[in-house]
Amino acid sequence: MRIYKPRASLMGAVLWTLLAAIFLFDIFTPPENVAICMAYTVPIFMSLFEMRPRALFYASITTVLSGLGWLVQSEAAIGEVLVASNLLVAIVFQWLVAILVRLQTQRFNDALERAETQRRLVNVLSHEVGTALTVVTGQASRLVKLSAQLEPSNLKQRAEKIRDAALRIDMIIDRIRFASFLGDGSISIERGAVNLHTLLRQLKEQLEDENRGRTIELDLCEEPQVVNGDEVMIRQMIENVILNSVKYSDTLGRISVSLTRRVGVARIAVVDQGSGMSEYDLARVIDPFYRGENSRGVSGTGIGLYIVQQIVKAHKGLISIESALGVGTKVAIDLPQSTKLAQT
């Protein structure tokens, strides 16, 4: 396949030429004609058409050029003070325009981001729900067709499949709703002392029970780690991370969860030997509904880590993810230790 070279340089070249032209014009016109510095706002405006508008960068350039233009010129007839103040007005204008362009770019990017999230949501919904609905409608139409001749046990089996598929759709909707509540902050966070030792032990037991055959290694530091937060959410957060490891590593892969104490924070780290992610996917994996290359054919909504990130944020913590394709993934979450409770 042909690889295309960036075309962004074209607009860049136009802008630099324009800047140079204005600078030359500035030098060769009488020094009291400071108004020419206003013309610098034109390239700043035009930077809107760049692939990645750098309005503030051009504003710094034009400020320097305006200053240079003033320095290289001979004495003005109207007095230096007047020229300088005019120049100041021009520079203020340049920066105003740059800030406007910057804000507009930001708004445009935010709108694109929202549209992209929405598109991903539609994709996830149509895929996940479509797969589950195939079972619902398929089994239901089999029931209609075979109603007369089905054994009760077979009938029960089919009805259960329909129910499971319906529950799956319900779960997907629940998760999406939960994520959107978290995202817009309309979920209130309970505050209380959460003992991470107890929580991690319980979670290990629960997850090993639910995923038979998987062992989760626990490595807990000695002194108890207590954080101030919402126990249900913190549990959900760690569960999401561990379940990701379960999902994207084969049954022999090790999954270890460690709890260590750092300065002022408790660090929970989950390390697996799973399929890992490319750098490209790693940069986007937290975005809601984003599903990486290795998630093809693995059912999911692409929302788990977004939920994790939102919960971490609500607890004023930090999350970091390292990953390498074919090697594994490490997710580390730092939560501020509860000072009040640590003393008791």
């Binding site: 398929g138 499949k161 290359e293 693995v298």
Partner: protein
Amino acid sequence: MILAQKILCIEDDPGTMELLVEVLTEEGFNPVVACDGIDGVRKFGEHPDAILCDVDMPAMNGFGVLQALRRSANQLRTIPFLFITAYGSRANHLNARRLGCDDFISKPLDFELLVAILRSRLTHGAKAEPPQFLLTDREREILTWVSRGKSSRDIGVLAKLSERTVNFHVNNIIQRLGVATRVQAAIRCALRGLIDP
């Protein structure tokens, strides 16, 4: 006795696969089961009369299967190849049908419809080559990324274009092909060998 026609079913969702096998067997076909793309390519050796293939699968997706088969087997042109895709609404699907397209069947699957399409494709053989349809280099590049599951924004980054330009090209292809979604457009072009997924 007439031998039952073999249908190679490549699908990773066990619930869907179970139903496919049940319905196809009941309709007198002989379903050959493959649970992912690589398995599907391997089982092509059993000489199926038609292929049903999911698009979204682990290890190798539906486009990958099509490409691998096309590379290794020339007779693919005469064997009906139908995609099953979950990316498409009912409205999209209806629209595509009205336009006379039956290269893909949308999830949730309507099994009666699926059997009807399969029967008609088996009796009429693979579709005759449609009139000349070509893609520009840029369009081919973009559609290839679409078939690899990238969003417009990601394609923009990869091809050093703005997202708007990418969407413009994709919509253009969709319109010219008379399909409803980008995945359907990628399917069409992959089937015609216009892109290399």
